[in-house]
Symmetry: C2
Subunit: 372 residues, 2 copies
């Protein structure tokens, strides 16, 4: 068991100074403080409650909490399974809300009483991981990759299957292929974007920025993309969405507008769980079981803490590409213009349903109104 006493011995200062360093007392020398925190992490100093050391790890967000997204929900569910073997508990932390700017990450996590952290970051918060590892606090990063071989991380490489997915569209005869992604980039969406570009490149198809749609990763985001495509004069015949909600929202919006999938437009989605089975037609998708990411992270982190081992785990798990019913041959192109969309009028009974023609007419009217 590592107490302040042990840290004091190892670092050659008094327990008073150790206590002060861990509590970020401003009087303690910057250099000493850093040294003590390093030692504390080396000897595996753990927050205690009474005499018991805590058995908590954190699932921490570096930015906004996105737990309601299917990816995060699946990861979290995996984490809850992953901590069971070593009987750890999970606390949700928000760095943005609670971390004092003057304290180090180690100080923050110790103050919160957690022994390790599973971190969910965005592109612009990658530096945080380096800082935490530098301090030596037990860390596992979800859904990112690093050059450094000291950062525990697990992610899913969706690039190969993204290439495969776009090549599937090309093989079906598609030439104008769009891409839909989240408007805040992260590693996962970048992988899929790179796969999309790579596939175009391999088959000497031009990259067209106007075919890359960046929207919120929600049903509404996918719906918006579909509406934007509807208004294009030179529409794509297929689209690959890097996100499950966007794909589902787009397929739904298509049906609302009387656009048939895959006859008028082929759609490939991404699936973190099993939403591809909840829509009709069943969505062709690049798939992963995101809960595995959470499970592996939580399992490795809690094992390390329990047995005081320190080997680094860097793992990339593959996705799989599943061809279902939302992809098919492209519509015939006449005189170089986009095929007529929505020619099969919507056959539901709903009052709100409208054919694509009337939708587009209304849309263009409002665009004209906006312009004047």
């Amino acid at each position: 068991m590592s107490s302040v006493r042990k840290i004091a011995e190892q670092s050659g200062v008094s327990i008073t100074t150790v206590s002060r360093a861990l509590n970020n007392d401003p009087s303690v020398n910057e250099h000493t403080r850093k040294h003590i925190i390093t030692i504390a992490n080396r000897v595996g100093y753990a927050a205690t409650m009474g005499k018991r050391i805590t058995t908590q790890i954190a699932f921490a967000y570096a930015g906004e909490q996105t737990i309601s997204h299917p990816f995060d929900a699946a990861v979290f569910e995996g984490i809850l399974r992953g901590v069971n073997e070593c009987r750890f508990d999970v606390v949700i932390l928000n760095l943005q809300r609670d971390k004092h700017p003057e304290e180090t990450y180690t100080q923050f996590f110790m103050r919160k009483g957690v022994r390790g952290v599973i971190l969910r970051i965005m592109e612009e918060t990658r530096r945080i991981c380096h800082a935490i590892v530098e301090e030596g606090f037990p860390l596992f990063v979800i859904s990112e990759r690093f050059e450094s071989d000291k950062i525990n991380c697990i992610d899913c490489d969706s690039k190969p299957d993204s290439i495969r997915a776009v090549e599937h569209l090309i093989a079906l005869g598609h030439r104008r292929i769009a891409f839909g992604m989240h408007n805040i980039p992260d590693r996962d969406h970048m992988d899929r974007y790179e796969g999309y570009c790579e596939a175009l490149n391999r088959h000497e198809l031009p990259y067209d920025e106007s075919l890359v749609f960046r929207q919120p990763y929600t049903l509404a985001g996918g719906s918006t993309v579909m509406k934007m495509i509807a208004c294009m004069s030179d529409r794509p015949t297929a689209i690959y969405f890097a996100d499950p909600m966007m794909g589902v929202g787009a397929i739904k919006q298509a049906r609302e507008m009387g656009v048939q999938i895959p006859q008028d437009l082929s759609v490939i989605g991404f699936d973190d769980t099993d939403v591809r089975f909840s829509v009709h037609p069943t969505m062709t998708a690049v798939c992963q079981d995101a809960s595995i990411l959470g499970f592996e992270a939580a399992s490795h982190l809690t094992q390390s803490l329990t047995h005081n081992t320190h080997q680094c785990l860097q793992k990339t798990i593959p996705t799989f590409f599943e061809i279902n019913d939302s992809t098919g041959a492209p519509p015939l192109i006449q005189n170089g213009h986009s095929a007529h969309w929505g020619n099969l009028s919507f056959n539901g009974h709903s009052d709100v349903a409208e054919t694509f023609q009337s939708y587009r007419a209304r849309q263009q009217t409002s665009l004209q109104e906006e312009a004047t």
Copy 2:
């Protein structure tokens, strides 16, 4: 600040005994132990880390963790928002996994370092709530109602809108109306079941147990119900699902079988968030925003802990009924037999898609095979 010292004073024993009582030392007298735990809760004794008292509440499950279900995910998201004002953190606990049978609930939660608990229970675990309140530990129960006015609880009463929903079907002309619910009953599903029964009763329609389907609340569960209905000789013309996933799964399965919704079958679902917009036709549904339940619970509990107030909150929020596109007039009934289903053959392009007729033929063949 309440220390063991204060509890000792108030209960007239030494701090030694208090410590023993809180740690469930078997030597301490049963009666004394109970008394001390009551006092501890009365003075608001709180677990400390070092000298700091913790700012954690638990989101605890009495049974299996169901965080991946949209209802729980939404509740949890609400909890995370609800703790922000008082800057509490949330830890997920599992009573089944970690509570020792000899320790009281208070002892368990103190050992875990949480100051209060938001509890998610099932019908058969209601007694736990009474035990916790008896001990005096800060508790908030999600999605249940109690006769006792001492238990903080919040739920959503979906019975009135369930009646309204079924009456909507009756008004459209439906007479054989089915009901789909989770095979493990809880308060919410019981409300909806009671609403279903009440509506039938009001309009003097017979209750038919063969029209009540109890299945897992998953896409697969809803799909199963749809397949079961398909094989009935005296099919219902409408169904009300008490669960979002079941409704979505059923609508999807219907399309796979070539059954048109609402022409062949009207479907009403239940929606905890916004899944009704992810399917086509947009699902007519009894709706709630389940995240409000979590938000209110977390907000009230953390306020109470922060300001040391003790007034009990019992709240029931209403649902709303939203008529969308999955309900319509029943199909014509000929000679007292069910209308022909799947007469409009499936018009997707998929290889796996099959008309209802071929599906049913196959199904009946396999049933016959099973019988021999």
